[in-house]
């Protein structure tokens, strides 16, 4: 066991993948010489040379190059500096990477990973703060992962790189500095498994990424008020662990989904709809969501504070659920 920061866990996962598999190749803007805008790739170029490369600012072509490289024997890991810039990679991800396996009759898969940071809280403004993971979760053929702590950042990134299919790996900016334990000799985790981060019998709160910590804070305060909330960290959004949610619901009979992404048409909407279909008999209250309002992410700290879902909102929702 060692304590590492989230960003360092990403760095270690990349280093270990590069070390163990000569097909792994890293590229992105300012990732090599400088080590990435968030320092996640620091030192990797020195160790692995040309397998870690800076690219020009050409997201559309870099993402499609990842597809071509994956089809010709590499396991490319592309960094897109902010998730907002994923808009420029949509053809590569949606039309190419996601389709290849099915569309070519199962001849091949596309073992590529796109790492990208999402999330606000740093006054980065409307074009550097968005959480767009639902877009990718909507596309058959893509996997979407969003870890909430250093151990998962390591284990799930290793899994994403080893995975034969294309993975969008989302890192919440607010988590890069977070410290956590990373087990000695940790390896890949399995994709698609949720984790119970806090047990409870009164309500289930499903979250992913930084929202897991919002949910945990809320659960701590609710416990003082006598409400025991079970917090599930989804970890993987596509596929998501339906069985784990159902299993928890069978105990709590109340469900709240929390995420930083916009509520409308989001991950929470999908989970709510699905659980409404298969878990109706278990529900003692309507499923609720706490997520961002239908507004661009604002710049002013005061506006952004009003925008982001916080523990107070989660607490209020749980109290309503359990009323």
């Amino acid at each position: 066991m060692a304590e590492v920061r989230f960003g360092k866990a990403i760095n270690l996962a990349l280093a270990d993948a590069l070390e163990q598999d000569p097909a792994v190749f890293l590229f992105g803007e300012d990732i090599a010489d400088v080590g990435g805008p968030f320092g996640a790739t620091r030192g990797l170029k020195d160790r692995f040379g040309d397998r870690v490369r800076d690219t020009p600012i050409s997201e559309a072509s870099m993402a499609n190059a990842a597809v071509g490289a994956a089809l010709s024997g590499l396991k490319p890991v592309l960094e897109i500096m902010f998730m907002d810039f994923m808009t420029l990679t949509m053809d590569a991800l949606v039309n190419q990477a996601a389709k290849v396996r099915y569309m070519f009759g199962g001849q091949a898969s596309v073992p590529m990973v796109v790492r990208t940071p999402h999330g606000g809280g740093i006054s980065a403004g409307p074009q550097h703060s968005q959480c767009l993971e639902a877009w990718f979760a909507h596309v058959p053929g893509l996997k979407v992962i969003c870890p909430s702590n250093p151990a998962d950042a390591y284990g799930l990134l290793r899994a994403a790189i080893a995975d034969p299919d294309p993975v969008v790996f989302v890192e919440n900016k607010a988590l890069y500095a977070m410290k956590g334990e990373l087990a000695e000799g940790a390896g890949p985790e399995s994709i698609g498994k949720a984790r119970t981060v806090r047990a409870g019998r009164d309500a289930t709160v499903v979250a992913y990424g930084a929202a897991v910590h919002t949910a945990e804070r809320a659960a701590g305060q609710l416990a003082e008020q006598g409400l025991e909330v079970e917090v599930l960290d989804l970890r993987s959004i596509q596929p998501w662990d339906e069985a784990a949610v159902m299993e928890s619901l069978a105990r709590t009979h109340r469900l709240l989904i929390v995420h930083e992404a916009v509520e409308a048409f989001g991950v929470g909407a999908e989970i709510a709809a699905r659980i409404g279909e298969i878990g109706f008999d278990e529900l003692d209250a309507p499923i609720m969501r706490i997520a961002s309002p239908f507004v661009p992410v604002p710049f002013a700290p005061s506006l952004e504070k009003a925008y982001q879902p916080d523990a107070e909102a989660v607490i209020a929702a749980v109290r309503k659920l359990c009323a």
Partner: protein, 323 residues
Amino acid sequence: MTTRKTAELLELYERMYLIRQVELRLGRLFADGEVPGFIHLSIGQEAIATGVASVLRADDSVASTHRGHGHALAKGVDVERFFLELMAKEEGMCKGRGGSMHVADLSIGMLGANAIVGASIPIALGSALAHQVRGTDALAVAFFGDGAMAEGTLHESLNMAALWQLPLVFVCENNGWAEFSPTSRQFVASLDKLAGAFGIPYARADGRDVQAVAKASERAVAAVRAGKGPRVLEFTTHRFRGHYEGDPQKYRDADELSGLGEHDPLSLLEPRLAKAGVADAQLQSLHEAVDARVDAAVERARKGSAPDFEAGRADVYTQTGAA
């Protein structure tokens, strides 16, 4: 006795004739409702696919366009599985899930036709990157039409290919039309100047003349394989048919349409074959053999089975066996 040179010429002719016959047949099958969807034929442009592919190795990769039948056949895809695919059968090369615009055979480096204009270029770029990183002397070819010259991916990829000195040959098939608009109304630059701006050697040749195409390609491929970085080739050619089968082509002058026969790459080669001593009877038997091959492939395709929806559903992601 046929000399080696004559044999090579005959081989080029046979490949072009095969592509022509396959596509003429597709035109009829489409009109008769045996090929669903829509198809873009490369009739009149066979010399480019054939000439370029004639200088490629099996481990070289090719990324193609929506008008990609010729590229696939020139790279060596199986004719039966090709027809099976276009006739929407389970035994097709993509199990009936891709169709005309997605014919692919990754085992021979055919990375797929592609329904997204401009996508072939960065995909081939990534494939070239893989060849470079893996330290082989294989190369990649990006086929694209004149219409794709206005896509950002070309400009981004020219830059990247030059920056990283990638083993990539850009091949523009300039048929003067992008759908229903002439190139002159779409693109103000010229590919030679564009290539020059990135310091990439450029060559143009008559795309009707398979020998000219092969010669230009041979030079480019030799340079690229020798590690001298990317090359750009532009072949002028003529689209004999509509943009798609069934296109009434009201936007084209009657003169242009009636004069297309003069630009036939097969007719251009026939007198050269005669001069090289190939007797009419020899050509006749070549025709008969190819025709019979196409007939047999179509007959086989007609007997193919309907694709299995559930099998396809299970093929969106790689099955790891863990589930």
